[in-house]
């Protein structure tokens, strides 16, 4: 009886062992499935192919747009195309260069505190819009109504374009207002740049070039309707 009890104990331990073993394998194969490390070179060449394809299509798009620009005579349409970033623009404005902190971080300082993050860019561009900028580009990527800033590991995505420091922001608009909006007490520079010791230089330019956006616009969900009474709420389904 005693021996059988003890044997059962060991048997129970082995059951546990077998279960754990299978569960571990299951978890491990799950991880492997999500990280297909064998296919990295394959995926890289695929991405490369797609990138060259995108570049080709963008070039095509640009040349079509150049041709169309000649026929654009309707003023409202022109303004809308300017606002949505379809035209390359020139005009007076600011050139802002944002760099990571030059300060050598002590080992106990979180290095993240010394970097330019996507939210710095988002706040800066937002500040420029508020100050009346007419067109903004970050590292050559035109900021259009749908452009968002996001963090992708060690790089920042502006829309779908990867950008790296130094960040060059160009904005067309009233130079005095734009500059004042950034440098005012309690403003962007004081709140977002000085605490992190980031580098920023602002230069006023007489004639800045801002490139057009690369992509087009596709609306698959929104549809145009007649304007509705703003008082009527709760009619959204």
């Amino acid at each position: 009886m005693q021996v059988r009890n003890r044997l059962l104990g060991i048997g129970l331990a082995s059951v546990l062992l077998g279960m754990l073993f299978v569960l571990q394998l299951r978890a491990e194969t799950g991880i492997r499935r999500h990280l297909p490390y064998r296919n990295i070179s394959q995926i890289a060449s695929y991405i490369h192919r797609l990138e060259t394809e995108i570049k080709r299509l963008e070039e095509q798009n640009r040349s079509f747009r150049r041709q169309l620009q000649k026929y654009d005579v309707d003023q409202e349409l022109r303004d809308l195309r300017i606002a949505s970033g379809f035209y390359p623009l020139r005009g007076p404005g600011l050139e802002i260069v944002l760099t990571d902190s030059a300060k050598q971080g002590a080992t106990f300082i979180d290095p993240n505190l010394l970097l330019v993050h996507y939210d710095h860019l988002a706040l800066l561009v937002n500040e420029l819009w508020v100050a009346g900028a007419e067109a903004v580009a970050v590292n050559g990527e035109r900021i259009v109504p749908g452009t968002g800033f996001s963090c992708a590991g060690s790089i920042i995505l502006v829309g779908s374009k990867k950008v790296a420091p130094p960040y060059l922001i160009r904005a067309i608009g009233d130079r005095k207002t734009l500059k004042a909006a950034l440098t005012m007490p309690g403003g962007f520079i004081e709140r977002q740049i000085h605490p992190f010791d980031l580098g920023i230089t602002i230069t006023e330019k007489d004639d800045l070039y801002i490139p057009p956006c690369r992509g087009g616009m596709v609306f698959s969900y929104a549809r145009v309707v007649a304007e509705e009474d703003p008082e009527k709420e709760g009619e959204d389904r």
């Binding site: 104990g9 331990a13 082995s14 978890a27």
Partner: protein, 114 residues
């Protein structure tokens, strides 16, 4: 004959785990191999103790649990401090496992007293 019990248990556990939909949470996957290692050692050493008639079931479980918890805790502590203690702990318990295996072998093939 005694060796059949853990083998059967092992098979039963594997079949059971295949049937059950459980999954180890991703955060724990780092630590569960240690438990497996400790458990393997416990089973081998338990078998040897059983043959030598010195196995105490409560002690068997308690020592297994403390060892497993200790191993996991040590690695967790290492992760907190930014030191990879996994390998250290894995080496220690692997050595223990080989020790248990050799003692088990000696026990199995030792000369029977007449």
């Amino acid at each position: 004959m005694i060796i059949l019990v853990p083998l059967l248990g092992l098979a039963l556990g594997m079949v059971l785990a295949r049937l059950l939909p459980w999954e180890i949470p991703l955060v724990w996957v780092r630590y569960s191999p240690l438990v497996i290692l400790v458990l393997l050692d416990a089973v081998v050493d338990g078998l040897r103790a059983l043959r030598q008639k010195e196995l105490v079931l409560a002690g068997f479980w308690v020592s297994f649990l403390t060892r497993a918890a200790g191993a996991v805790f040590l690695v967790y502590l290492g992760d907190l401090m930014g030191v990879d203690l996994f390998t250290a702990v894995a080496v220690v318990f692997s050595l223990r496992l080989f020790g248990s295996l050799s003692r088990m072998g000696r026990e199995l093939f030792k000369k029977k007293p007449f």
